[in-house]
Symmetry: C2
Subunit: 201 residues, 2 copies
Amino acid sequence: MPKQVDHDERRRHIAEAVLRIAGRDGLDGARLRDVAVEAGMSLGSVQHYFASKDEMLRYVVHYLGEHVTERIVAGMCAPAVASVPPVRSFLLSMASEMLPLDARRRAERRAGQAFTALAVGVPELMEDLGEGDRWLRERVAELIVRGQRDGELRAGLDPRLESAVLLSMIDGLGSELLLGVRDPEEALAAVRYHLNRLAPD
Amino acid sequence: MPKQVDHDERRRHIAEAVLRIAGRDGLDGARLRDVAVEAGMSLGSVQHYFASKDEMLRYVVHYLGEHVTERIVAGMCAPAVASVPPVRSFLLSMASEMLPLDARRRAERRAGQAFTALAVGVPELMEDLGEGDRWLRERVAELIVRGQRDGELRAGLDPRLESAVLLSMIDGLGSELLLGVRDPEEALAAVRYHLNRLAPD
DNA sequence: TGTATTATAATACGACGGTATGAAAAAGGA
DNA sequence: TCCTTTTTCATACCGTCGTATTATAATACA
């Protein structure tokens, strides 16, 4: 029997390389040869783990979708340890995690937007990217309901629509931050301002 | 003296072709040869009006930036003729115009996002795309101030931050609509819901 | 230790796409 | 009418990039 290599570990390693390149130079800059260099292997090896570039990109889309939601959830759970956390602090943590406020998240978001552009019109990819979105929306709606039960949020709010408003706003702020038409302080201020209005008088 | 042709008219004609293609197949689908076919001319002619593909794309970014804001403004002014229009109806019209609710606007937005992805990290392009954004933000802030003066909007609102929240939300809803993770009715409902909360009790 | 099978790598191929070139066509002015 | 300059077009060139091919190295099992 031959050499044993964890195939999926190699694929994740390559996916990380793709994400680094896409975050730095855009998805167009992710040529197979560059991916190989970034991953520290040869072009042939990359080909060994992905039959085609398309298959590789599909894998990366899936990989990204999983990890983004995972990281957001981690960010939301982080402040939970500090005593009893208000729902608004959860949501603020979530927003901070989602917004491209540092180099890493900027790269991640840029890669994400590149894939989003790629996915438009491709049902399979759109499904992968939309999955986490729907899941997150429900979580936020649940959180808002809980906030209302605990008296942290106004009773009159529509959880479903509030979830849509908040997540859309964060999404939009993210795009604007990446494009440089909005500065980070203002983005965070907008989120805090919005969350404040959700509190009872 | 030779044949006289309106140079800028030709360039706009080509730009329209590029936008149609980018809206239909993405910006990657806008090969020079395809642009020529879409514009109903030969590759050589396209080259005659643009020294390079890069120059062409820069022109299209500029062209798009001008026309998008122009169309949004037209959308905002449209309901103004009907008696005295509440500020909220202005803003709703603006949102409706900005959201990709039909094929035309979907194509326009897709092209816009493709160019946005292209522009990240290129200061010149970012400037072109950010210009209209800043202008629009100020207009919305002014509108909110006017709404407050007229008693249409709550007095406690921060016009600058409200402008940021509203425009970011519309931007985010637009992305989500394009990706198909949000349906048009819900997007409009979210906008209406949000605008409603801005009204006095 | 030998061998079979996988992993890694180097190189070659072929297509695609931006660019360059040169020629033909068109049209206003002498 | 002829000339000059612009416009239009066809075609050739050449680099790039995805893919295919082939060879070499590595390793688990007999």
